[in-house]
């Protein structure tokens, strides 16, 4: 009961303080908004990159094709040799007929596949699909398999994952530096806001202290103020990103669906479920920590004066 009343008191005081100090409060909340918008954009891009890479990686593996005229027996022999290697998880033999069926099912519509009749244009396309237990060994495995007898060609999709990695690192570096700058600005503005609020109320604070208010009680309204600034700063970016993300993935899908069949994005609800807690922790964290530190320092100063 008492705790609840104190909580309401502190929230009331915090709101009062924000209102009295609205220009600084708005500036602080605005900086947090900018931080979160940036953070959000980068988060969404990177999360989708990861998603794409993950779905690609689940397909990654190497495919081994054989020279014309290689018999099924020879292929199966090779299959056993590859399977013996430590980094190999599994090897699947795909006969030419299966390859053709798969291709028809995945990439051609019925009309188109009908035109081929019973011909198999992939006559010599029997292959081994090798999946790895250790993706980092892929290069070595590829080199080894390429040197094996009967092997004509080894396909691998490593390059996709590698270029993704480069872009991801770059994106992280850019976003982390931008966010670090914005966080510094936000912290500075919150500290100014809280300091100003404390200065306006220094008389009140010194009276409170002499009357016997606890440090916690004196400080709480300012920490609440910081927390509210944080929450205010996170409302707009969450809303904007929610709306914009939906639009963007819809447009991208409409524009490019014909080009890439496998253009997949993280579902809006799912990505917001990840982003909202992140955004709130981020903004509340900045608001509370910055205001707490400032309040503690400034109030100590006031208590030592007069």
């Amino acid at each position: 009961m008492r705790k609840i009343r104190t909580l309401f008191y502190c929230i009331g005081q915090g709101i009062r303080s924000i209102w009295k100090n609205r220009v600084y409060s708005l500036a602080s909340a605005g900086t947090i908004t900018a931080c979160l918008l940036l953070l959000g954009v980068f988060y969404f891009v990177i999360a989708n990159f990861n998603y794409a890479v993950e779905s690609a990686e689940s397909l990654v593996g190497i495919t081994v094709f054989f020279e014309e005229g290689t018999t099924e027996e020879q292929i199966l022999e090779t299959k056993e040799k590859i399977r013996m290697r430590a980094e190999v998880a599994d090897v699947v033999y795909i006969s030419a007929a299966e390859a053709w069926e798969n291709y028809k099912a995945e990439s051609l519509n019925e009309e188109l596949s009908a035109t081929f009749g019973s011909d198999n244009p992939l006559e010599d396309s029997a292959s081994l699909e090798v999946s790895l237990s250790d993706v980092s060994m892929q290069k070595i495995l590829v080199r080894h398999v390429e040197s094996m007898e009967y092997v004509r060609k080894v396909n691998h999709s490593e390059s996709i994952a590698e270029s993704f990695d480069g872009i991801k690192t770059l994106l992280w570096i850019i976003s982390i530096s931008l966010i670090a700058i914005l966080v510094a600005v936000a912290v500075f503005l919150i500290r100014t806001t809280i300091s100003t609020g404390i200065n306006v109320r220094r008389e009140e604070i010194s009276i409170m202290s002499i009357i016997g208010a606890t440090d916690f009680f004196i400080r709480a309204p300012f920490v609440v103020e910081g927390a509210i600034i944080g929450i205010l700063g996170s409302v707009l970016p969450i809303g904007i990103l929610y709306l914009v993300y939906g639009e963007v993935i819809r447009t991208l899908k409409e524009q490019f669906d014909s080009v890439f069949t496998a253009m997949n994005f993280i579902d809006r609800t799912k990505i917001m479920q990840q982003f909202i807690p992140l955004a709130l922790i981020f903004s509340l964290g900045i608001g509370i920590i910055a205001s707490h530190i400032t309040a503690k320092r400034q109030i100590r100063k006031i208590e030592l004066q007069h």
Binding site: R2, R5, T6, Y9, E203, E204, S206, I207, M208, S209, I210, I211, G212, A213, T214, D215, F217, I218, E303
Partner: protein
């Protein structure tokens, strides 16, 4: 001047003092003592004037009692506890049992009389029920019930000091400290405040008043402690204001 033999007063001294300074010195700056080797004992129910010229160390004594500052040497005891050793969280509890008023009233200008008094209870998280009961009681005691909705700037100095007094008393303090409470008041208002302090003392609160008001000190016949240059130069029952010769 020999004091009368007052058996009640002498009996009370058998108990431990409420406030006790033992060899207390305070140097705000190294080597410059604001007060030096102060030894004072104040007993339960006493009314004590502390007088002395400006800069003699009176406010320093008040601030030491509140633990706003710490002694450079010596110890201050309140109710037998050395307050220098109280932890931070104990200090706020401790201050709730002490009422203070200042020369400049220190009221909150953006709140009315009722809320100024209630403020002292709100900051110690008193239940609203108690606030509704205590605040009017205190406002009646200082004669300001009809001004409860007024703001400080609508009141005279004397009225403002009475609000401050109501605020100091609302949490039922054991000790009341007043640092030049009549310093900004005319003689009539000064007398009213002093009479109030005397009433409060008669109800059992130990009262310590720092003042420059010679007329009042001389006629009230209370214990008077005189400071000069940070030292106690006299401490008399039913004393008089001594001219501080520097």
């Amino acid at each position: 001047m020999a004091a009368d033999f007052d058996i009640n007063r002498e009996m009370s001294k058998i108990e431990a003092p409420v406030i006790s300074f033992e060899h207390v010195s305070k140097e705000y700056q190294k080597g410059i003592a604001a007060i030096e080797d102060i030894n004072i004992r104040i007993y339960k129910g006493e009314f004590v004037f502390i007088v002395g010229s400006s800069g003699s160390g009176k406010s320093t004594l008040i601030r030491l009692m509140l633990k706003e500052i710490l002694p450079s040497k010596g110890k201050v005891f309140v109710a037998g506890r050395e307050i220098g050793r109280l932890r931070k969280y104990q200090v706020s509890k401790y201050r709730r049992s002490i009422g203070v008023v200042f020369q400049d009233f220190r009221l909150l200008k953006d709140r009315n009389v009722f809320d100024n008094v209630a403020f002292a209870q709100r900051v110690v998280e008193a239940p609203e029920r108690l606030i509704k009961r205590q605040v009017p009681k205190m406002l009646s005691l200082v004669g300001l019930m009809d001004k409860r909705k007024s703001f400080p700037n609508e009141l005279s100095g004397g009225q403002q000091q009475r609000v401050a007094l109501a605020r100091a008393l609302v949490n039922n303090p054991v000790i009341l400290l007043a640092d030049e409470p009549t310093g900004n008041l005319d003689p009539k208002n000064s007398w009213e405040i002093m009479k109030l302090l005397e009433d409060i003392n008669k109800r059992g609160t130990t009262v310590v008043v720092v003042t420059h008001n010679q007329e009042i000190v001389d006629s009230m016949q209370k214990r008077v402690i005189t400071l000069r240059n940070g030292r106690v130069i006299s401490d008399e029952e039913k004393g008089r204001y001594r001219y501080a010769k520097n």
